[in-house]
Amino acid sequence: MRAGWGHLPARAQSRAWGRARDLGLGAKFAFTGGREGWIRVLLTAVGVGLGVALLLLTTALPSALAVRHHRDQARLDYTYDQHPRPKGDDTLLIADIDTTYQDKDVRGRLVEPEGPRAPIAPGLTEYPAPGEMVVSPALKKLLDSGSGKLLRERLPYKVVGTIGETGLIGSQELAYYAGAKGLAPRMNGWQVGRINAFGDPHPSTERADPVLILLVLVVFVVLLMPVAVFIAAAVRFGGERRDRRLAALRLVGSDSRMTRRIAAGEALAGSLLGLVFGTGFFLLGRELAGSVEILGISVFPSYLNPTPALAALVALAVPAAAVLVTLFALRGVVIEPLGVVRTAKPARRRLWWRLLLPLGGLAMLYPMIGQGRTNGNFNQYLVIGGVMLLLVGVTALLPWIVETVVARLGAGSVAWQLAVRRLQLSSGTAARMVNGIAVAVAGAIALQMLFAGVQGDYTKQSGNDLTRAQMQVDVPRGVALAPAAGKFAATKGVRKATALASADLGDEPWNTENGPAASAQMTIGDCAALRQVASLSSCRDGDIFVVSGADYDTDTVKLAKPGRRLYVSTSYDAGKGPQITWTVPRALKPARSVKDPAGAMRGGFLLTPAAVPSRIAGVVSGTVYLSLDESVPNVHEYVRNTAAAVDPMANASLWASTEQSKKFTSIRTGLYVGATCVLALIGASLLVSQLEQLRERRKLLSSLVAFGTRRRTLGLSVLWQTAIPIALGLLLASGVGLALGAVLLKMTDTTVAVDWVSVMTMAGIGAGVVLTVTLLSLPPLMRLMRPEGLRTE
């Protein structure tokens, strides 16, 4: 095969060369317009570059998530096991002592290698000795800073090294491994365990929830659409000046097709430079990404590697879109050779085809209405296509709405008149400016509705009674509870500490092959504490109660026979624990179960301290419920510090009234992170576009000031020019957003309800971005109104 165009007939070849020459000429013009030209190209490149950077970030997300997931999997230390693994030279004792500091999770592990071949955790080269720890760089930084003072008290280990990148899932993750001794007796099958390898021993692929997939799909489309809209707007920067240049070219003999190709060449050059800028921004952002954390998520720069195929798609699609948008924009422009560019009397915008887009979107989504989560996955193509068409419909409808409304607006003050007339003359420019925001707001409203509608399925009431306690501390077996409760009661900000110890009782010894056939719970506490779990008619130290009315408790009645010997569960490793028995006493008082502060109904036996044999006191585990004075700053940290001082494995948890599915929460978090990036991008792009427009009008602004126009009048006029289209855009966005939200809810078989507060919030955020941009553009506006703008030499 011959290379290049050699196989084409001569005429076609010369035509192709001609086209390439025109494109090349356009590209040359993009860079040879002097300072003005350079500024225009730079603005376009910066605009396109910002969009490209965000697209590249999106293409890097799948690999980033995969790397994060793999690293998380690789460091898994499964301590859940029914039967403990025997000690060997390849085993490691590991305890999960995660904590929370100032609302940030801190991953903590106590480690005790039992032999030279003990598995090394990813990111570590060796284990710290007892009393020492290796920490993540972010934790080291925090501990070294003033804001880490309280955490330093909680982690009294000497820092001897840092965890390598492979052992962390984010650059800002707080994590540590501390050396320990004597963990073996504390193995309990969930918090402390013995392992011989890291990683998930039984990896499973669970079926994804169709509704969650739907959420992810819609989040992606909603976040990427405004970026596409923005890129389309950015390639049209400097259009007026370009049109004048094209007119000059017509004068020297270019025909209209040539001028269009030259314009396409200019756009191509701008977008190619935008690709370079975008790659630069992405690489810069990639490095910066290592030092920031958004909503608790951080990444390492190495995570952000764009998927090659998707990156190539961006590299091809952006220049192609730039050319198409430019040619589309030139439809209504008649470029005459007399050095004058007259915009052809703009044809009135037609509504019918603009309506087809959202209607088409609805038609694509319609077949999935009522499908719910039980009928398999939603058709991804229909979802993406439908949502895209609906959102593109916003960009198509908005120019028509702006044109129709501003045509009917009357004259008012000078500022209003200048703004309205400007909008009447070029409503398309104004609509383009707010298209991105409108699409983002429409998508956000729909998503907010969908999230609000389905969150009930992913959120459950915790049952915790926050009026009785706000924190709970689980104290491990073997730790004396009474002194621990005293320490908590003495902690700053703690109003009341209610301590309850518990153990399981069985009708047979726990170390037999099948274990006991019937079992019940034994709860130990003083009278005040026991009244938190049961209704007691009277109570004195030394009393023992048998509880009735607890949920799912059928064995207590069988076991509560005076004189019956019951066996106390003493150890996770049943065979190794001591055999401790307890005989049901004659003097059993009846009690009725009530919900304990955590919302559970306890059954079994309640024992006051004087009734507990000393042999039992050492094998029970405890729970302390804490009522707090939440106005005391750092009260939660004080409690966690006390818990760590009582025992490193004491687990303090902060109560909330609801608990949410982790996947649902992470998708929502992803939306917020993405929305933050997109809004920042749109804000930046609006500012660039606003400045570009002001720059084009520099001379006019200066001359208006020259003949005495107040700067305030011009400032107000700019504000009106933005406020009118944004108000219309937000109105349309709210309508489309509500419609899309309702359809998505119908698809998931959820009752349609409008959360007006969310709608207003989303619209408010959109308006806020525009207002901020307008305020930011006022200082340059003031500068552009200086008389220097009148100078021509």
């Binding site: 007259r342 915009t343 004259a411 000078v414 008149q417 200048l418 007339r421 400007r422 009447q424 003359l425 070029s426 001379k699 006019l700 001359s703 208006l704 000031v705 020259a706 003949f707 005495g708 126009t709 107040r710 009048t713 008389p787 220097e788 009148l790 100078r791 021509t792 030499e793």
Partner: protein, 229 residues
């Protein structure tokens, strides 16, 4: 040196530099009520800078400008803006009409900025447009009229407030000779009938011929033509 007796606007020893470029280097100027003075000189000689300084658009680095006995440098920006709105009128080379406003709205704009109601401002604007023979363009936008027509609209806009001084910076620079002459005829006639002084910046002798007096600016210095002659 003091302003010549009876002068409406006078400048003494004006100096102005843009970075390393000296635009005015001791320039002087005076104009009497109703007088038309042409400021001539080659490109880059400082003519427009002189006009901008005289109109209070650009402050000089040094020197003094008095208007009607008041020192311009003693006024703040708001006072100078008010002066430009009420006492001065402007015509630039390219008209600088607001593209989105119709011609009549453009002419009425200075009056509206002074607080005149829209109806009244447009009535006065139309009267001036009739005098400048562009009243048939009232509903058209600047992009829909020719250069000469646009410039006449700009002259109407400059005169609608009844200014005492009209500043015209190359008013015919973008027009062919026929249109240029017509604009100058109408501009000078209208100015004389309104007893407005005209500071006419131009580099064309045929345009300067419409003036009563000529001043030449070269290398930032000004010279009265009579003195040169």
């Amino acid at each position: 040196m003091t302003a010549p007796p009876g002068s409406l606007l006078a400048a003494e020893n004006l100096r102005k530099a843009y970075g390393p470029t000296t635009a005015l280097d001791g320039a002087e100027f005076s104009i009497h009520p109703g007088e038309i003075v042409a400021v001539m000189g080659p490109s880059g000689s400082g003519k427009s800078t002189l006009l901008h300084c005289l109109a209070g658009i650009v402050p000089p680095d040094s020197g003094s400008i008095t208007y009607d006995g008041r020192e311009l440098s003693a006024m703040n920006d708001a006072q100078r803006s008010a002066l430009r709105r009420s006492e001065f009128g402007f015509v630039f080379q390219f008209g600088q009409l607001v593209p989105e406003l119709t011609c009549v709205e453009n002419v009425a704009l200075p009056l509206r900025l002074n607080g005149t109601s829209r109806k009244e401002a447009e009535r006065a604007a139309l009267a001036w447009m009739e005098r400048l023979e562009v009243d048939d363009l009232r509903g058209k936008r600047p992009g829909e009229v020719s250069g000469g027509q646009g410039q006449r609209v700009a002259v109407a806009r400059a005169l609608v407030t009844g200014p005492r001084v009209l500043f015209a910076d190359e008013p015919t620079g973008a027009l062919d000779s026929l249109n240029g002459e017509r604009v100058m005829e109408l501009l000078t006639e209208a100015a004389r009938s309104a007893n407005a002084a005209v500071v006419l910046v131009t580099h064309e002798a045929r345009v300067a011929a419409y003036s009563d007096r000529e001043i030449v600016v070269r290398d930032g210095k000004s010279r009265d033509m009579e003195r040169i002659v």
